[in-house]
């Protein structure tokens, strides 16, 4: 009898179960944990209280991203609590022997940008972080998911978590992305189709010709937003694109070991004909640039479409739509294109990588940001920033009237000083348009970096197509 056909989620799961006992969640091994300043301090404190030592500091790496300023004088904090948080992580890492990528290390940045950059993120691994966008690392064929601070503590103490086996969901992206349409638009389309809780309890495997054609950066954008449809994680099976990206990176296997590593990594790919708990196909051929109109990432439409008219809806859908539109101050049934914007943001773990900055720069080169718009371009890491400067992208942005800032999460969640003012409208390459996400009273429209920049030029939501050659 042949062995059961398994998908990639089951294979990684099976390879990391340490203890399986009837009626209990499994003891599940974690290969790598990433730390940042906001969700780790309480875990370190619990370890101290309990007198437990960190079991394997070499499985942990840390950086600062969420609450740090992105001004050029970023070591100066206006928020003293944030400064304490950063200093606490710095001290905790030093005391515990955890590698800490501090300012000017050359590798500081958004935790989900630097893991892949360093080659730490690899196929078949289990990766956790006290951050829901940890699924970004799934682009490499890793099972990567966000955990709370208690679970951060569990991994510190034991290298393991208690986990129940997740369900699996296959999302096939068919067709090709057209002009002006990007990975961001594909994932927004999926979320708009299945809703913000559509994949609750599942790990998504993204498959299909469109995914195979994507660069690692694009795959990261897709996996990054898996949580926005409720998925525990999202991943893409590794292939030559993955391996080319990893080769030569600091924490990737040495070249002499690479073939052995690739053979191991390949073993995690889904078996032909493996089953999933759920399957969905999304055709990308006719997809246009997407933009959100409401207060969650599922409330997204094509740029040429109209905002839903809640009068035509019923029950809780009507109420939810009505209250979302009341917050975003949009007229039901009105076209979304042409909505005036005040702010624009290119950055975040969703779209703050070098490819994103290149796309944004190509759209704005030789043009100007609309006089009524403030455009922030925030690289995802020091390394992205350096690369962008080597390519002269910083000059392109600055000459257009945009601000090219220091790396961090910035205006994606506005924990630092970067905030969209009350009542102002921002078109943003980030991942959440929740109420007040970019600052109290701010209104967010999620879109791709190209759409963000094109809209910043016109001062209103617009398709980037006319700006692309």
């Amino acid at each position: 009898m042949s062995a059961k056909k398994r998908n990639i989620v089951e294979k990684i799961w099976d390879a990391h179960v340490v203890v399986e006992k009837e009626g209990h969640p499994c003891v599940f091994a974690v290969d790598l944990m990433l730390l940042h300043e906001v969700t780790s301090a309480q875990a370190f404190a619990t370890m101290k209280e309990k007198g437990i030592k960190i079991k394997e500091p070499a499985r942990l790496m840390a950086t600062i991203d969420h609450s740090i300023p992105t001004r050029s004088d970023r070591t100066v904090f206006y928020d003293k609590a944030a400064e304490t948080q950063v200093d606490t992580l710095r001290r905790n890492c030093k005391e515990s022997g955890i590698k800490f990528y501090d300012y000017e290390s050359g590798n500081q940045g958004i935790v989900h940008v630097i893991g892949p950059e360093l080659g730490a993120t690899q196929p078949g691994m289990t990766i956790v972080c006290g951050d829901s966008h940890t699924a970004t690392h799934g682009a490499f064929g890793a099972l990567a998911f966000g955990v709370g601070t208690s679970e951060v503590g569990h991994v510190m103490a034991t290298g393991c978590l208690l986990q129940s086996k997740p369900k699996s969901m296959k999302v096939e992206f068919k067709g090709k992305l057209g002009k002006g349409v990007y990975a961001k638009d594909a994932i927004l389309k999926l979320i708009s189709e299945i809703g913000v809780g559509g994949a609750n309890g599942h790990v998504i495997e993204y498959t299909g010709e469109a995914v195979r054609a994507m660069s690692m950066e694009e795959r990261m954008t897709v996996c990054n937003m898996s949580i926005e449809c409720g998925a525990r994680a999202g991943l893409v099976a590794p292939d030559s694109t993955t391996y080319e990206f990893l080769k030569g990176r600091e924490l990737a296997p040495e070249s002499s070991d690479f073939d052995e590593a690739v053979a191991y990594w390949n073993s995690f790919c889904s078996d032909e004909g493996a089953a999933y708990d759920k399957e969905i196909v999304i055709d990308l051929d006719a997809l246009e640039p997407m933009v959100t109109w409401g207060t969650n990432p599922g409330q997204a439409i094509g740029i040429s479409q109209k905002v839903p008219d809640f009068n035509a809806l019923q029950g809780s859908e009507k109420e939810d739509t009505e209250s979302a539109l009341a917050y975003t101050v949009l007229d039901p049934g009105a076209p979304i294109e042409g909505t005036a914007v005040d702010w624009a943001f290119v950055g975040s773990c969703t779209n703050g990588r070098i490819e994103d900055l290149r796309v944004a720069a190509a759209v704005i080169a030789g043009r100007k940001v609309h006089p009524q718009v403030t455009l922030y371009v925030v690289p995802g890491s020091e390394s992205v920033r350096k690369q962008a400067m080597e390519e002269g992208l910083d000059k392109v942005f600055e000459e257009a009237g945009a601000q090219f800032r220091m790396p961090g999460c910035s205006m994606c969640l506005s924990m630092n000083d970067d905030r969209v003012p009350q009542g102002k409208r921002c078109v943003s390459s980030s991942n959440r348009n929740f109420i007040g996400r970019q600052g109290p009273g701010s209104i967010t429209h999620l879109a791709s970096p190209a759409t963000v920049v094109a809209s910043a030029i016109e001062g209103r939501l617009t398709s980037p197509r006319a700006y692309l050659n």
Binding site: V18, K50, Q85, K99, S150, H154, L162
Partner: protein, 203 residues
């Protein structure tokens, strides 16, 4: 972790779906390094802007059960959302469904999350008397005479009733964990513990 047995309380009706953790506690309030004090900013915007928000009304003061729509706790993994809820004195959240990470975080802080069908949720939201939640028998009873059974993972129930922490449970398998690592570490891996050819570059 605090033990959970049973409670009787008024319910706070939160007639909203997809309540995200940014609503529960906005990021601006996450710069603390402690687990305490987040209750003051629970649902900060709604409490500030909407006088009709239930938590602004005196009749719900001291209520320990929150009843919401579907997909409660979606979005960010911040455990601060759970700390804010428990710090405000809430011990049970009943909803049509919950987001995964929020569900996990709650179990680790003694906050009982109960999933009930829409009709049950709507009935409970209308109950202005008291509601009794009993974990042992997995029942919710209202003074209106409604009674609902709920499903609950037996392991999680055992932990909640005993106030037991996952960490001690995992630590009891230390030998298994160590032998797992020995068996699954490959020479070329640079992350994690020895044995391997090259010295650890991570530590």
């Amino acid at each position: 972790m605090q033990k959970f047995v049973s409670i009787q309380s008024k319910v706070i009706p939160l007639k909203m779906n997809d309540v995200d953790t940014d609503q529960i506690i906005p990021a601006q309030f996450l710069t603390s390094v402690s687990k305490e004090g987040y209750g003051a900013n629970l649902f900060s915007r709604l409490r500030k802007e909407d006088p009709e928000f239930p938590m602004n009304k005196p009749e719900y003061r001291g209520a320990e059960i929150l009843v919401a729509g579907y997909n409660f706790g979606c979005g960010s993994s911040r455990e601060h959302a759970v700390w804010a809820i428990t710090d405000a004195g809430i011990k049970v959240v009943i909803a049509e469904s919950f987001a995964d990470i929020f569900f996990n975080n709650s179990a680790k802080n003694g906050l009982l999350l109960i999933q009930l069908p829409k009709e049950a949720v709507e009935k409970l939201q209308k109950c202005d008397g008291s509601v009794t939640v009993d974990l042992e028998s997995q029942t919710v009873n209202s003074s209106n005479g409604d009674s609902f059974k709920f499903d609950y993972d037996p392991f999680r129930k055992y932990c909640l009733l005993g106030g037991l922490d996952d960490i001690d449970y995992i630590l009891s398998y230390e030998n298994e964990i160590d032998s797992f690592r020995r068996a699954n570490t490959r020479d070329w891996m640079k992350i994690g513990t020895a044995p391997r050819k090259k010295a650890a570059t991570m530590a």
